[in-house]
Each structure stands twice: as structure tokens, then as C-alpha cells.
């Protein structure tokens, strides 16, 4: 691994870590505009993080080491996931260490840790949130894996850089299987990132919470890391979506500094569009009852499998 490649990898990581709170802020802003509210500034999530880091952490008396460790692990897995997903450049040295299946595994690791931490204090809301989160998880993970299988079968590789290079290669083709997979991916993204219609990130009703119920006991720096990690998760999902469905605009292998510098605005543009789109989806739909979630995610799963069958039948 050359020093240049390492620098590029670190640069991309830093970009991901710093852009993620902006993405959260942007979605919140768009939502506010669409709902005729005064929008918070774009930098609001950053201010929030700073405030949380400065505060003293209030921990439940019997909180164990696992509870304190979990936010760091959560953040660590999400940063590592950002290192695997091509966002600016496809030439990622670290992506050889973990392919897209490992990416799904990393997301699962993060989910298991936050669910365990939620059960640690032993409050009613915490365990309820953990149970619901794991339920959404076991429904969404197969769907996500099937979406990825579509891309794997098209490109003959499970390494994300190879997938992107194959899909972005010049003869422009619309793959019908990817169209099905795309819809399925959007549904998984909504469910996994605690978005309407599965969960509401801005909710104040404890009984309807999933993600928020799990992190109720966190405060200060721990909460900051959890929030940052969920921002990164949204960012990672967005970048995964770009990699699979709009793989254009990334710096190709061997591209120079100019290529990289051009790729950054392209990424920001894509994120802006995706964030606005997410806000529209969230504004237009209503939250589902928790036991409608299996139907929603089973639909995503079936769409992804349908894409797979379309690919195997038509070879496209």
C-alpha cells in the first residue's frame, strides 16, 4: 500500500466523518421547509455535537462497561464502513480487507452493540427499543443482502470498488434487475436509518420509538457519538446507494488530484439531491404501526428477489 493511497483513504474517511452531520442537518432543513416550519441552520447538528461533548456524562448508577463502550464501537464500525464504501474514489486500499458482505456484517455488529447497550440499564423503554430494533434488523438484513446479490451477479464480484467500476463502465445500460433492487434498497434505507414510515427520528412519543428508545439513557459524549454514528450510517447508506445505482462522478482508478477534487462536488451534489428526496418521502408518508413493518420489509425483500430472478431469467 503506497503512502499516497493511504493518504487518499484517510482523506475520504475524514470527508465522510465531517459530511455526515451536514447531511443530517440538510435533511432536517428540507423537512422543515416542506412542512412550513422555520428551518434550523445547516450547521445545527455540529453545534449539537459540540454541546454534547462539553457536558458531563450522566450515567445510570449500575451502567456496565459495555454500556460505555458501545458508543465507541458503534462509531468505530460506522467509520470502518465508510472506509469500504466508494464515495469519492473507487481506488480504496482498505476495501480489499472487507467486501460488501462484510459491510452488511459491520452494520449488524453496530446494531447488536447498540441493542445490547440498550438492554444494559434494564429500563422498560430500552429493552423495548432493543427488541424492535433487532426485529427490524432481521427483516431488513436479508433484503439488503439480496439487493447486493443483484449487483454481485451483474458484476461478478463482491468487492464494492469492482462493482462500481463494472456498473459505471462506459456502455450505458439500464439493468431491469437493478430497478427492482433500487426500490428495495430505498425501503431498506428508510427502515435501517430509523426514518418514517418505520420510525420517526423526531418523535417524542416513547411508545412509538425504536432508535430513540434505545438511546434514551445516553447523554453527553456518549450520546454525541451515538448521534454522529447514526449520521454516518445515513451517509454510508446514501453512498452505498450511489455506488450501486448512480455510480457516475467518482474518480476512477488512477485518477489524479484533479479527478479527486472534481469528485467531491459531485458527491456533495448527489447527497443534496438524495437528502431532499428523503425529506420528501418522509413528509409524504405516515408512520406505520410496528407490526406493519414486517409487511413493508417483506415487500422490499420480495422486490430484491424479483430483481434476482429477472437477472437470472433475462441475463440483465
Amino acid at each position: 500500500m503506497s503512502r499516497l493511497a493511504l493518504a487518499r483513504q484517510l482523506g475520504e474517511l475524514l470527508l465522510a466523518v465531517s459530511l455526515a452531520p451536514f447531511l443530517v442537518g440538510w435533511v432536517a432543513q428540507c423537512r422543515a421547509w416542506l412542512q412550513n416550519r422555520t428551518a434550523p441552520p445547516l450547521i445545527q447538528p455540529w453545534r449539537m455535537l459540540r454541546k454534547l461533548f462539553l457536558k458531563d456524562a450522566a450515567l445510570a448508577g449500575h451502567a456496565s462497561a459495555l454500556f460505555r463502550l458501545a458508543p465507541y464501537v458503534l462509531f468505530g464500525t460506522m467509520v470502518l464502513a465508510a472506509a469500504i464504501i466508494p464515495s469519492v474514489a473507487t481506488d480504496l486500499p482498505f476495501a480489499r480487507a472487507a467486501d460488501a458482505i462484510a459491510l452488511v456484517g459491520l452494520f449488524a455488529t453496530a446494531r447488536v452493540f447498540i441493542a445490547l447497550a440498550a438492554m444494559d440499564i434494564g429500563t422498560a423503554f430500552g429493552t423495548m427499543g432493543a427488541r424492535r430494533e433487532m426485529m427490524i434488523g432481521f427483516l431488513a438484513e436479508p433484503a439488503l443482502l439480496m439487493v447486493l446479490f443483484n449487483a454481485f451477479l451483474l458484476s461478478g464480484s463482491t468487492a464494492l470498488p469492482s462493482v462500481v467500476e463494472h456498473l459505471a463502465a462506459p456502455p450505458f445500460v439500464i439493468y431491469p434487475s437493478l430497478a427492482f433492487a433500487g426500490v428495495a434498497f430505498l425501503m431498506v434505507l428508510l427502515a435501517e436509518n430509523a426514518r418514517i414510515p418505520i420510525d420517526n427520528p423526531a418523535t417524542h412519543l416513547e411508545l412509538t420509538m425504536i432508535h430513540e428508545a434505545m438511546v434514551l439513557e445516553y447523554s453527553a459524549r456518549h450520546l454525541a457519538l451515538v448521534e454522529w454514528a447514526s449520521g454516518l450510517k445515513l451517509f454510508n447508506y446514501a453512498c452505498l446507494g450511489f455506488a450501486l445505482f448512480v455510480p457516475w462522478g467518482m474518480a476512477a482508478r488512477g485518477a489524479g488530484t484533479t479527478g479527486l477534487l472534481l469528485a467531491v462536488p459531485a458527491l456533495v451534489g448527489k447527497l443534496a439531491l438524495a437528502g431532499a428526496g428523503l425529506a420528501v418521502v418522509e413528509t409524504l408518508s405516515a408512520k406505520l404501526r410496528i407490526f406493519r413493518a414486517p409487511e413493508f420489509l417483506a415487500m422490499a425483500f420480495l422486490l430484491a428477489v424479483l430483481g434476482l430472478l429477472v437477472h437470472l431469467r433475462l441475463g440483465a
Binding site: 458531563d56 462484510a102 469492482s162
Partner: protein, 669 residues
Amino acid sequence: MSIAAPPLLVLLLALVAAWLCLGLAGLIRPHHVGFVARVLFPLGALVSLGVAWTAWGALQPGQSPETLVLPLGLPELPFHLRLDALSAFFVLLVGLAGAGISTFAGGYFRAGQGTAPGLLCLQYHVFLASMLLVVLADDAYLFMVAWETMALSSYFLVTAQHRIPDIRRAGFLYLLIAHVGAIAILLCFGVLQGGSWQFTFQGMRGGALRPAWGSVAFLLGLVGFGAKAGLVPLHVWLPEAHPAAPSPVSALMSGLMLKTAVYGFLRVSFDFLNGGPWWWGGLALGLGLFTALFGAVFAAVQTDMKRLLAYSSIENVGLIFSGLGLALLFRAFGLQLFAALALSAALIHCLNHALFKSLLFLATGSVLHATGERNLGKLGGLIRRMPWVAALALVGTLAIAGLPPLNGFVSEWLLLQAFLDTPHIPKAFLNMLVPLGAAALALTVALAAYVMVKFYGVIFLGQPREASLTHAHDPGWLERVGLGWLAAGCVLLGAFPGLALAASGAVTGPLLGAAVRAGPSVWLIAPVAAERASYSGVLVLAGILAVVGVTFVLVRRLYHGRVRRTAPWDCGDPWQTARMQDTAEGFGQPVRHIFGPFFRMERQLPSPWDSAPRYRIHVEDRLWRALYLPIGRGVERLAEAVAVVQGGRLAIYLLYGFLTLIGLLVFVL
């Protein structure tokens, strides 16, 4: 004796003898716990280490199979033994996991009701030795002797607490299904000898069976070994026998004994029958996937921690068999490299499961000793009372949930990679069907994570659900060492999957004529091709640790590490008791809701006006009423019908004897 004594096989036999001697030594002072537990079991663990080391030697490249004939057994059929790569792999598994389990057992067994420790020690070591002989046997006779010794010794171990009726019942069920399986295996060998009446495995290997007879042998093998492994619908003994047995024995049975069934299936279908038509693979794959999903769904609704682990074993056996089925499927179409990939996934999952399932069963043993409770509804918060067990069990929990960078993920990754190769199968409808298998696999793996969060969260996290739990404490150092050994194995095999791939490659090479690469380096595996997929456990582990470390230091440096301890927030609700947490039933509720048709449920709901409301739910396996009870009733009715001839008078019995004699004479003349 054979002419030139082959070193590794003789060494293994000596180690088996050492185990047996240790077992017999237990009879010297059967009630002296200090001698039996603290001395003999740790010595047994040392022998296990020797076994593992020898097996590793036999798996090195360039080792040819070693054979040996012992002058024991039947007059015309002395004991044949053989150590090839396939048996060496399973010997390695027994040695590695056995070392940890025996160390733990040294601290675990104590005097009490039931079998005396010295006798347990004998049964335990006979059990270990018989598992090794099953794997080393090279003729059907020795195999069946070892197989039955294994079943019987484990039966006595399961019924160690034989004064409890439920445990006797569980032991009976286990013995019954073990023998149904043994009959199928015996018949399978009968078919395999193919009229040559050669019961050595060498004879079966060369024998050319007609395809129909080959299929009969395969089906008999699938039933026989499937009964031991716990394939649905022959799985019912597992959730009864595992909770009944003492924890180290549950670990041996679940971690190691189930794998001998996998070994037997591999031996028959890959070695003797040399693969077969594609529907063999399809059958094993379908059965495996259904078993896996079934096990995961049932594990999610259990309320007894050892039953939960038993169902999780069913799930893992299902995953292993789906890998084997996929390998058979690829092999039927001559895709040897992909078959090697699927087979490697199955073999590595065997090894992984031996490590993490033993670890978890032993951890439940520590919890059971510390609290006296197996019921999840009466546990909780043990991470604060038993930090060692909690930390080591966390490793096992994450590993069995299939999370990177631990070992459970490696085998699931390999299996998914193998599923991705199914478009190469030149049969259109299989092309369409098999990816659905990948979907079922993904669902099972995700459900396993759900189950393990429930297992760990309800036992170790939260607040103690009973006041007595505050007296729980960590076990002694022998138990910790045993748990630590297995946990270290989980981390090591997860970080360096190339090690396991090298071992499985030594097996698939001779069996399939193809092996996936264990490289390109120690750091990275790329089983098919580098541009296709690569994974490095150690880099993922290092990456997570590095980011966690850097974040920790940065947060502490730039800000502060101040902590204020308060009461839990819980949205400001001041009335919180431990009973408001999710129970095991509560945590399983979504699965009961979503997978309703799997279960037979009896609910009793309180009416709104009950002054003392009680909520009761009973979840049962549908197969029990649909399959087992009718068979049981049928057998009973048949027995009653036959009992008519049993008049109880001597004269009548003499008459029967006389009539039989006449009948035979007529028949002969």
C-alpha cells in the same frame, strides 16, 4: 500389527489410551472431588491439546493417509484404523474444543446428588475417546462399536441427575432417536458393501454400486447421521437432552458429537459414494436450510437458556448441512472448485460452532452454578456480578451471531460466496431456486443475531430479576481458563481465517480434487480470486480497534472524561422495577407474531376484571403432535395387539416354542 508403525496414528491411539486411563483413574477415589476434578480433568485437557497438535501435523501438506490394523474385534474383521485429512480435521476439532471443555470441567464438577464424580470422569473420557475412534475407524464394525459407545456414554452423562424424572425422560428420548439413527447407519453400511461382504471402508470406497442402490445408501446415511446431527424432523431430542445434561457434557454433545454425524455424512456421501445425482445435493440443501430457519425461529421463543442454545445448535447444523448440500450440488455438475468452496464453508463452520457453542454452553454452566437458575425469566444483570463470564460469553455471543471480525462471520461469508456461484450450474430451474436459498440463509443469520441479543441481554444485562442474584459471583480460575481458551479460539480463527482455510483445503483436496486458496497471505483470504472477493479478519479487527482507540483518546483529550452517576432516566418515570424489563417471552414476541404458523401456541389471557391477572403462553413444536405422538400411539397399539400372545402361563410359552420348532422343521425340510 501392521509392519511399519505409522507415527501420528499410533500417537493418537496412545492419547486415546491416556484418556481411558484417566477415566479409569477416576474410579480409584470416585467421591474425592479434589482428586477427580482438579487433577484428572486438567490432565485430560492436556491430552486433548496433544490430540489437536497431532491432528494439525496430519493436516500439513504432503501428508499421506496412515492406516493401521489392530488385532482386536471379530475373528475375520480386525479393527481397521485410518487417519486421513478428513478424519484429521475432525480430530483437530475434538482436540481444540475438548481442551477448553475439560479444563472448565475441572472446576465445574462437584459432589452432589446423582452420579459420583469419579464415575462421571470415566463416562466423560470414554465419550471423548469414542468420538475420536468414530472418526478414525476404517471399517464398519469398529465404526458402529465406537458410535454405540459414544451414544451410550453420552446417555449416561445426560442422565447424571437420574433422580429427576424429566431428565430420565429426556435421556430415554435421546437414546431412542440415537438408535433409530444407528439402525439407519447400519443398513447404510449394509447397502454400501454392495454384495462384496467387505465391511472395511476400503472395500466400500472401491465398490461400484448401481445408481439406485447408491441413492438408497445416501438416503439411509442422511437419515442416520441426520438423526444424530439434529436435522428436522429428527431434532426433537436435542432441546430435551442438552438442558438435562451437565453443562460440560452439553458442550461436548453440541460442540463435538453433532460434528461426528457431519463427519459420517461426509464420509458416506463424498468418500464412499463419490458424489451422486444433483437431487442429493438439492435434498441436503433444502433440508439444511429448513432446519436452520426452524432452529433459529424456535431459539427465539425459548425461555430456558440451555434449550435456547440447543435450538441454536439445530440452526447451526442446518447451516452446515446446507453447505454440504451445496457442495454435493456443485459436484454433481463437475464444478469442483465451487464444491470445494461450499465444503470448506461447511467444515469451517463445524470448527467454529465447536468453539463458540461450547463456550456458550459452559458459560450457562457457570451461570447455573452461580445462581441455580436456568430460566431466563429469573436471571438478569449478571455482567456486574460475573464480569469474567460476561466478557467471555460476549465473545461467543458475537461470534455465533455471525458478526465480523469473529469466526462465525468467516464461515457465513464463505457460504454466501458459494451461493453466488450458483449461476454456473447448467440447469435453469436450479439457477432460479438456489438464490432463494441464499435469501433463506441471510434470514437465518439475521435471526441468529436476534436470538443471541436475547440470550446475552436477558442473562447478563439489565437489572437482576430476582433478589437472590445479588449473591452470584465469578467461577474459579480453571473455569475461566477453559472459557478463555475457547474465546481466544473464536477471536483467532476470526482474525486469521486463512488458518482454517488451510486445514479445510487439506480435506477438500483429496475428496474433491480441488481446494480453495488459503492465501494470498496470512492477512488476507481470497478464496476464489482476488478481484472477486477478499476478506481480512485481522484488518477489520485492527481497524475497529484503531478507530475506537483514536476516538477515545481524542474525546478525552479535547473534552473531558467527567461522569456523574445518577438514577436511570427512563423518561422520568420514577417507578421502575426489574419486572418492567422485557422477559424472555416478551423478547420473543415479535418472532412469535411473524412466524406464527411454525408454532403450536396455547394462550390464556386474563380478562380486564381479573383481580389477580395471570398471563400464560405455551409454545410447542407442531411436529411433536403431528408426527411423534401418532407414531408413539401406533407403536403402543401394536404392542398391545402383540401382547395378546403373552398369556403368562408356562404351558402356553412351551407350546409357542414347540410350534416354532415344527415350523422351522417344515421350512428346512
